[in-house]
């Protein structure tokens, strides 16, 4: 999957994306410029790599979040689920399980929660916000229960190698992010599943009249979110060398922010995956830049909130033209 395939095979998406470029690209450019002026370290190679590495976890959540939001849904359980998956992964490793087994357990945890979210939304017809608010609580509680509130420290060389190692000079963490992006892009723009994601938000009746079992695909969207969260837990656990019961609390906020900043709308199945990538980088650059300027993390949350508002204001002005 290379960039040209975006242009050649999904020109519809590309045409929409062109008209949106200013919104999120402006923001990203402005952030980079501001931080480059404020801190000499910001544009250093090491720091840019750092932004990339720090953004991969967020990207792994924001990718499926884009699809979920396109179906006019939302998943606010992702942060708690990422935490639980990380705890599960660490627990299996700490009990002498292999990394493969631990990763499988983490992904299955994500999948189970994703399926649960999807089925409650699609079959029981509950509002996604309420459903995932509930599963957020469940996941958070289970993480605390399993750890008794303490970190599960892991010292596993393979796990460290996954995070810190590189392949052909490229850090493996970045490769995981790239593969995650490529797979999601392929799913959204080149498969029937992706076409139906657009339809789920745009006109679910059209799907039903076309004889498609819309619910199956709606459940699949949430299940995909669970699996990606389980995968992201691998990177999170490796980075912290532990599974901590509050490690990723609130991460869904960053993910939703990145998606919205990237130009995906909560209505009519109007989504843009490349925008999400830019949105993730904007949130990542903002967090990193504020860290360099030693701004406390509480203020950082406010800044991300402002970022979302600014992005929406810019897009609404563009919409009026």
């Amino acid at each position: 999957m290379n960039d040209s395939s975006i242009a050649v095979n999904s020109p519809t998406a590309f045409a929409t994306s062109l008209s949106r470029v200013p919104g999120v690209a402006w923001i990203l450019g402005l952030l980079v410029l501001t931080f480059a002026l404020a801190s000499r370290d910001f544009l250093s190679g090491a720091n840019l790599l750092n932004i990339g590495l720090q953004s991969v976890i967020l990207l792994m959540l924001a990718l499926p979040m884009t699809l979920i939001i396109m179906t006019e849904g939302v998943d606010i359980s992702m942060g708690a689920l990422l935490t639980l998956s990380s705890v599960v992964l660490a627990w299996v490793l700490a009990h002498d399980g292999s990394l493969m087994l631990a990763l499988a357990a983490s992904i299955i945890t994500g999948l189970v929660f994703g399926l649960m979210n999807g089925m409650l939304v699609a079959l029981v017809k509950m509002p996604p916000f309420v459903v995932t608010l509930g599963t957020m609580g469940v996941a958070q509680g289970l993480a605390l229960l399993a750890t008794d509130g303490q970190s599960i420290v892991v010292s596993n060389d393979t796990l460290q190698a996954v995070y810190a190692g590189s392949l052909a000079g490229i850090p493996q963490t970045l490769l995981i992010g790239a593969v995650g992006y490529a797979v999601t892009h392929w799913l959204l723009y080149h498969t029937r599943f992706g076409t139906y994601v657009f339809a789920l938000g745009g006109n679910p009746d059209a799907l039903k009249l076309a004889g498609i079992r819309a619910n199956v695909y709606l459940i699949a969207v949430y299940a995909f979110g669970g699996v990606m969260t389980g995968l992201a837990a691998l990177i999170l656990t490796a980075r912290m060398s532990s599974g901590h019961p509050t490690a990723a609390i609130g991460m869904e906020f960053d993910a939703i922010a990145a998606v919205v900043v990237g130009g995906t709308s909560f209505e009519h199945g109007n989504g843009w995956l490349f925008g999400t990538l830019l949105g993730v980088l904007a949130v990542g650059a903002l967090r990193n830049g504020l860290n360099l300027l030693t701004v406390p993390s509480s203020v950082q949350v406010s800044c991300i909130g402002l970022l979302v508002i600014v992005a929406l204001v810019i897009d609404s002005f563009k919409g009026k033209k």
Binding site: T12, A15, F198, G202, N203, L209, A210, G269
Partner: protein, 499 residues
């Protein structure tokens, strides 16, 4: 081709909804190569029958026969298996997918890898169908970026692409211009000659008689007649549909004296494609604004109402310059009855009472305190005056028929002292009986001193109802026709590029 056995036959179909028997033992047959017109008032059961046909509803009782064999149609997938395709009136399109993706939704061409879509082939096939329809738009265009008429054409393309043996159309021409309609009719004739059976729902008498090989009339969920076009006149058909005699000429007393000037628009230009439009509306007259779909009629209405940004020109109301958004327009006594009553005219889930009261709240309750009992009383009086068929003022508007919904949209302005009514396609999707009532209501408004600017795509309506009419073309006023000059032919001449 065996013409004695119907391609598809429905026998004794019944469908019950809470409180309504939508279909009552309806039998219906369609033969290969015929255009079967399905007519009836709104709520007569046409749409329900169509939904049973295509598997969207499953019938409570009744049998289906395909080529003489008993079959079951319980889901859209079943219907598709028998080659039944439907062109829906309410669009079944996905806004952020391309034209091609919409045409082949649910029937994507598989590529090498399971689950993958062969985009190249999809766009090729879509192009072929658009060419057949004479539609020159890139297949990669998002449906979101299309106008209503173009969306309707995509809907038609979608049904055609299914190589249907039975094609069901629900008022396919409602949103089309005359040229597109003509193109569609050529397509229909061609499909017919290929042996496709066509079920066609229409409110337009001209179409029913010119296109139909057989006409079935539904009323109150029952089949009341099935006849050949030669066996009835339009008036007789209308009589069968409504069960009472309706005067199709909407006779009214045309304005004799020149009333006081209510609206004067001078050189109005808007960001939305209105180019230097000037017009006047006087008290006591119905002024038509006609032209083809896309000529800018709705845009003029929106610009006067302040819903679109006016870039230059003036609007004078009662000899005073008027400017500003819809709030100012309402305060100045302008009422807009929008083109899309469901999306712009009504709060569908709220009650008739709530909808009727909305614009007139400040007048009805100067103290700013809402009194539910008073509101119900005012609403009930309006419901009687408008003759809205409903058991209660508390009934949600979405449960009303199209005609009654339209009465609510017009009626809600009666409580707000409006003097100028801009009505945009007031009879779209409304049956003949309700049309006459809507026109009677509009006539009542002007006889009480209001002025009406009426937009309509149906030339016959403009000719029959209006005191005079402007004709638009490409965002400009192409001409003005007095009562004496008003004829369908003259309107059409001004509408098209035709010197």
């Amino acid at each position: 081709m065996n013409t004695t056995i119907p391609l598809l036959e429905l026998r004794g179909i019944s469908k019950q909804f809470p409180g309504v028997k939508a279909l009552d033992k309806v039998s219906f047959a369609v033969y290969s190569g015929e255009v079967h017109m399905l007519v009836g008032e709104n709520g007569a059961g046409k749409s329900s029958l169509m939904k049973v046909l295509c598997g969207a509803y499953s019938a409570d009782e009744g049998e289906f026969f395909f080529n003489g064999e008993k079959v079951a149609i319980k889901s859209p997938a079943d219907a598709r298996k028998f080659g039944i395709a439907v062109i829906f009136q309410e669009f079944s399109l996905v806004p952020y997918l391309s034209i091609a993706q919409n045409i082949f939704l649910g029937r994507e061409f598989p590529a090498r890898f399971p689950g993958m879509v062969d985009h190249a082939r999809m766009h090729r096939e879509a192009k072929k169908i658009l060419d057949l329809l004479g539609l020159d738009i890139p297949t990669k265009t998002l449906v979101h970026d299309l106008g209503v008429a173009q969306q309707q054409m995509v809907e038609i393309a979608k049904a055609l692409s299914q190589n249907a043996r039975i094609l069901v159309m629900d008022e396919p021409t409602a949103a089309l211009s005359d040229r597109e309609t003509e193109r569609l009719f050529v397509m229909i004739r061609q499909l017919q000659s290929e042996g496709v059976a066509i079920v066609y729902i229409s409110h337009r008498m001209a179409e029913v008689f010119s296109m139909g090989d057989r006409i079935t009339v539904l009323r109150d969920g029952k089949k009341v007649a099935s006849l050949l076009p030669g066996e009835a006149t339009p008036d007789e058909l209308v009589h069968l549909m409504v069960g009472r005699s309706v005067d199709r000429s909407y006779a009214r007393n045309f304005c004799q004296t020149e009333g006081e000037l209510i609206l004067e628009v001078k050189n109005l230009t808007s960001a939305n494609g209105v180019k230097g439009v000037s017009l006047t509306v006087r008290s006591g007259e119905i002024v038509g604004l006609s032209g083809l779909v896309g000529a800018g009629r709705t845009e003029v209405a929106r610009a006067i109402f302040g819903a679109d940004k006016v870039t230059s020109g003036e609007v004078w109301l009662h000899a005073k310059a008027h400017r500003g958004g819809p709030d100012k327009a309402v305060a100045a006594g302008i009422a807009l009855v929008p083109e899309s009553r469901k999306a712009e005219g009504l709060a569908l889930i709220r009650s008739i009472c709530d909808n009727l009261m909305l614009p007139g709240l400040p007048l009805a309750f100067p103290s700013r305190l809402y009194k539910a009992a008073d509101a119900r009383q005012i609403a009930s009086a309006l419901i009687d005056r408008l003759r809205i068929a409903t058991p209660s003022s508390q009934r949600p508007v979405r449960l009303l028929s199209g005609g009654n919904q339209q009465k609510v949209v017009i009626g809600k302005w009666l409580g707000s002292n409006s003097r100028l009514f801009i009505v945009d396609e007031p009879t779209r999707g409304i049956d003949v009986g309700a049309k006459a009532e809507i026109f009677a209501l509009i006539d009542q408004l002007v006889s009480q001193g209001a002025g009406v600017l009426m937009i309509s795509s149906e030339l016959s309506e403009i000719v029959q109802v209006c005191d005079r009419s402007y004709v638009m073309r490409d965002g400009r006023i192409a001409g003005h026709l007095s009562r004496e000059q008003l004829s369908e032919e003259n309107i059409l001449k001004l509408s098209v590029h035709h010197e």
